[in-house]
């Protein structure tokens, strides 16, 4: 599975979201992306992409789009 597919799948599973709506998701735009959901997302991404985010990455990560940028910053090709 390529990275963008993997990334999308994590969003779908973490937020119980539909495939066609994940790209628009932002922090607190859905009840599932609350602080608990956010932690689950960060943990899932760290495990699946084998990385450790810095504080700034975690608090800047406020949308699907922004997350891609942050993964790239961490050396993930996506």
């Amino acid at each position: 599975m390529n990275n963008i597919k993997k990334y999308k799948k994590i969003f779908i599973e973490t937020f119980n979201a539909k495939e066609n709506e994940v790209c628009q998701l932002t922090y607190q735009s859905t009840p599932e992306w609350d602080s608990v959901g956010h932690m689950n997302l960060i943990t899932a991404l760290e495990e699946n992409f084998d990385l450790m985010f810095e504080t700034d990455d975690i608090v800047d990560f406020n949308s699907y789009e922004k997350g891609i940028e942050i993964l790239r910053k961490n050396g993930i090709e996506i």
């Binding site: 922090y27 009840p31 959901g37 689950n40 504080t55 700034d56 608090v59």
Partner: protein, 466 residues
């Protein structure tokens, strides 16, 4: 209750918000008085809370003027709010402007910035006991109408005890990480306001950049959290952050894992900060015990000693006092912060003190040779989810309106729900997550052919795997 602070610290800042608002104690008193002018009578008010100035002004106004607020979450579901209104029939509701049309029998009579005061169209005149100060919910998420009745003495004495053991002085600047309607969050506000300290008020979560900017810019001196807060802090690489102003961390609202306790204790020791592990219940206003920060590493896992003015004892199943160390019994607390009792209807507001200063906590505990207490189990069927009590039986009742049969068990922050309808796991997860407002990841839905029961129909929870 806050009159001393208003007098002695009138020019000192009572509150600073992340939106840039600031009020001195004098100004806070001024706004609270304006709101009181519109009510001017002892009655019941629903106060819908957010960590914002209007909500704080409402609370201070009500408590200072003998108006009795029920402290509720401002994001409480509309149907649950209406359910509570029907049961308790408050004369007024103080709530965010965007919710002002949700209550049919109420009209808007006054507004202050982003909040509106609604008055009932009916002439309600419920009798309220003289000592009743405020009411708190026992469980936010299941919408249970059961409230805890607190007296002025309860609130004031607990705030004083907390201020004493934490040595709170007017220079303290606690940043809010917990909601105001939640007993722990409210205790932070009370214990600091009576000491003339400055509350840093924000509705932002730890996950937002704005929270950390606010903390740094305003030089917050303390932060409070439930176990889940500490998990988040660790994940956020808290140990690598440079936060020189932060002197104190406090933890309550459930049991923090030993590993995390140790990590935070060691970090605080190295950084010259204080880390307090504490224990309490809404039924005791908020706080019953604390672990002195100097001894946290030595007494890992302990809830510590009773707060100033309080006293613990242990009773066995026959009600006999346990005095030796290492033996388990129910933890019993005695103190002037023990609530008056519960309310389940408007009629209960006239009730007096049911508890007489003694609380059977429902927590099974032991003491060690130094008289430090340790919780080893729970008598009642509830779990703590992100610091809030969630009653498993009430959750089952909620579910039974949706499915034929179920059984709920769990550990803190994790609930297992057994259902007997194959293939409905996802439906059930969505339903219960929407109903309780808790993230779906809390719930683990499992199918089983039938719920194990004894001959009288009682669920055999011990036959179900966690």
């Amino acid at each position: 209750m806050f009159t001393d602070s208003i007098k002695n610290f009138s020019k000192h800042k009572a509150v600073v918000t992340d939106l840039g608002q600031q009020l001195t104690y004098h100004e806070l008193h001024g706004q609270a008085s304006q709101l009181f002018e519109k009510v001017r009578e002892r009655c019941l008010v629903f106060c819908l809370c957010k960590n914002c100035v209007e909500s704080l002004v409402g609370y201070v106004s009500f408590l200072s003027n003998r108006i009795v607020p029920v402290m509720l979450d401002a994001s409480l579901k509309e149907e649950m709010l209406n359910g509570l209104v029907e049961i308790y029939k408050p004369r007024y509701v103080w709530l965010p402007i965007e919710r002002c049309n949700e209550l049919k029998e109420y009209y808007s009579m006054y507004s202050q910035n982003e909040y509106v005061l609604l008055r009932s169209k009916l002439h309600l005149n419920a009798e309220i006991h003289d000592s009743l100060a405020l009411l708190l919910t026992t469980s936010g998420s299941t919408g249970s109408p059961k409230l805890v009745r607190l007296s002025y003495e309860n609130v004031f004495s607990n705030a004083r005890s907390i201020a004493m053991y934490l040595s709170i002085n007017p220079d303290e600047r606690p940043i809010t990480t917990l909601p105001m309607h939640y007993t722990f969050g409210l205790s932070v506000i009370n214990s600091h306001l009576i000491q003339g300290a400055t509350i840093l008020l924000t509705d932002r979560s730890l996950m937002e950049k704005e929270f950390w900017q606010f903390l740094k810019n305003e030089k917050a001196t303390s932060l409070s959290g439930v176990p889940y807060t500490y998990e988040i802090l660790k994940k956020l690489r808290f140990f690598k952050m440079d936060l020189p102003s932060l002197r104190t961390l406090t933890q309550a609202g459930g049991r923090l894992s030993i590993e995390l306790q140790k990590e935070f204790a060691e970090y605080c020791l190295a950084k010259n900060k204080r880390f307090f592990v504490m224990y309490g219940q809404t039924e005791a206003t908020a706080r019953m015990s604390y672990l002195p920060y100097e001894r946290v590493l030595e007494k890992l896992g302990s809830i510590g000693i009773a707060i100033p003015g309080g006293e613990f004892s242990l009773k066995d199943e026959n009600g006999i006092l346990i005095t030796e160390s290492g033996r388990s019994g129910e933890l019993v607390y005695k103190g002037s912060n023990v609530s008056l009792g519960y309310a389940e209807s408007a009629d209960d507001l006239k009730k007096g003190d049911d508890n007489n200063g003694i609380l059977y906590t429902g927590d099974i505990s032991q003491r060690d040779n130094d008289n430090f207490f340790y919780i080893v189990g729970r008598e009642k069927r509830f779990i703590k989810v992100f610091g809030n009590r969630v009653n498993l039986d009430e959750t089952e009742q909620l579910l039974k309106s949706f499915i034929t049969d179920c059984a709920c068990i769990g550990t803190d922050d994790h609930m297992v729900i057994y259902i007997t309808e194959n293939g409905r796991e996802e439906d059930v997860k969505k339903f219960i997550s929407a109903k309780t407002g808790l993230n779906h990841s809390v719930f683990d839905i499992r199918y089983c052919e039938s719920i194990p029961k004894n001959s009288s129909g009682k669920t055999l929870y011990t036959n179900l795997a966690l």
